[in-house]
Symmetry: C2
Subunit: 419 residues, 2 copies
Amino acid sequence: MEFRKPIPLHSAIKLTMEHTPLLEVEEISLHDSYHRILAEPIIAKHNIPPFDRAPYDGFAIRSEDSAGASEQQRVTFQVVDHIGAGSVSSRTLGKGEAIRIMTGAAMPKQADAVVMLEQAKLSEAGDRFTIRKPFQQLENVSLKGEDAAAGKVLLEAGGLIHPGTIALLATLGYAKVKVARRPVVGIIATGSELLEIEEPLVDGKIRNSNEPMLQAQLARIGVPYRSYGKLKDQLDDCYNLIKQALSETDCLITTGGVSVGDYDYLPAIYEKLGAKVLFNKIAMRPGSVTTLAVLDGKLLFGLSGNPSACYTGFELFTRPALLKMMGANKPYLRHTQAELSENFTKANPFMRFIRASITLAEGRARVAPAGFNKSNAVTSLAHADALIALPGGSRGFSEGDVVDVLLLGTEEGEREWNL
Amino acid sequence: MEFRKPIPLHSAIKLTMEHTPLLEVEEISLHDSYHRILAEPIIAKHNIPPFDRAPYDGFAIRSEDSAGASEQQRVTFQVVDHIGAGSVSSRTLGKGEAIRIMTGAAMPKQADAVVMLEQAKLSEAGDRFTIRKPFQQLENVSLKGEDAAAGKVLLEAGGLIHPGTIALLATLGYAKVKVARRPVVGIIATGSELLEIEEPLVDGKIRNSNEPMLQAQLARIGVPYRSYGKLKDQLDDCYNLIKQALSETDCLITTGGVSVGDYDYLPAIYEKLGAKVLFNKIAMRPGSVTTLAVLDGKLLFGLSGNPSACYTGFELFTRPALLKMMGANKPYLRHTQAELSENFTKANPFMRFIRASITLAEGRARVAPAGFNKSNAVTSLAHADALIALPGGSRGFSEGDVVDVLLLGTEEGEREWNL
């Protein structure tokens, strides 16, 4: 029997990331850019806002003309023009003159303050108004460049494009944006025990849940997949399909077949392909058999066939690798800490990842296992929004202990972990 | 000038949700179901796992035959069959017999324990092995129904379908899944100051950033949109387009035109349409002009034209309404609390939502404003992964104060808020 030496989690992650290629950059429409990764830093091409403007509906005035105004001695202004947002007044304000102005409209020449509509007492005809207080210079004026000065670096390359990013890019006129190409990921399930989802159960068999699960894990980070179906445990079929899949994709995920069972052909296939196995045993549970091989710069992830182990292996290794391929500067799952809400008294020499449900709402974060906790469990996956990371060692953990937690299904990630 | 009475945030949310219709249910392929909402509870149609199985590669034995085994007195077993996962042995084990079994394979008849491969000392020919310890009944056996017993309610209707949900649905044979139809949302931007993204800046104008931003906010919750372009501030054009958009969509978002400026036609259009205005002023900043009208059971969201106000209005009102249309049981943004990392000394009578960046990694959550904080700001949106919610009142807030925070861009949400 083959002997495999487990390597620590951080070594496996380091090896994964060191061997992850960066994909080429393409230019896409801003409308299609949600959840892609910026491939260029974004610099303010112009001031934001690009001109001094009114932040409220009201009247643009020269502040000096408001001096001395009070309840007893109201100062009167004559309305000489009327401009909507997007229009520019051709008038230059004279003494005691005002221009009716709408939210967002450019300040007229000579005007340096805005009287809000509710601060003005309008005449019947609407051509005059009075005010009861003096206005400061630039009072109620939104200044050119106050949000961002031209030339400022606003976003670094590697950031996820989310709705707020898109608002900024649109403001700056980025109708197209440079992003790394998305990797195409192939998925192959192995295991002659696997039925299609629509097939009725037969004795000894279970349905293939890993493939649709992985498709959704990929969809969660906006990565397209190509399904290569489900293999029986036949070495040659497996080899040929994997060769074909590698030629058509940027990265390949297999599920199952990486253990030391008699039908676990993947080690033999890696050898036949000439792929370099970077690791095939990690000091963690579940997913200790998670394997990574590399061939011609392409990563071959051999994930466990057990659903919880497969899920965890994807989130810990495949997800950050795919995000790195796209240039992400925060490729790792978002990390936090929380109090354990139950005991884990049994010590374990290996680092454990436990599907969990985290409660954030009550001021202190608490985390509880999401249910049945074995590598072949599937119901706990359906209830998990986090993974508890318990370091390996000789002791157990108690309720109230503060532990590391990785959040699932969040846009934002981490630059690094210290797990 | 029209007088509008501001209503509290919670009243505006209550009114929104009370008037939100539920959309009809459809059946879709499990492969397309990521990020949809379950329209039916999921009940275990069968046990998970469906049969007793081996969780490891090894040998199935009758535990009674291992009695008395020790280092000194190893017990020998004869390997009489060999089964891979998915196969079922036709053999019934006799005394001292064992069957080679792979991870996931069904336990043979009479077998009630599994000797892991590494616990067995194999003979040269591989047809016998010895063990050095007795095995308990059911030792190393994964029991039928241990993950979920047939008949158990596993997921309630209204839950978001994420990758873990999909794994469970696939396991249970849900090739199709019942979900509410997704609403089609129309977007219309108003404001003659708006340029297209690709247009060069001209004096007094800015680019339309709200529409692509809203498209991405919709994409974030998996909701498709239909763009009705950008209107100049012309009442009749606006009215006709809104009438058309309403006939083609489930919900309409307009940006801008809801304030009290001279070109803010939406109040007049709501009246002309016969739409009932549920609110048009909320005691909050930004987004106080956020308006909601309803016509024939369809919601018309009148969001502010200011980017930060538009963004906030969508996340607080439109997002939960759309998720409720799809039947979500957690339609609100995920809520947590964190320490303020800077002072907000200026008191404000209104509830404020501040675009913010939250740090979770260091054991205690801390939150800081994401930059320039005005309703027309756009750069802070690009840096925000959270909204700080500061209640209105007579006092400011200090560094270290624990405040409410709503997380942006997370799959998981909340059933309710108490903001």
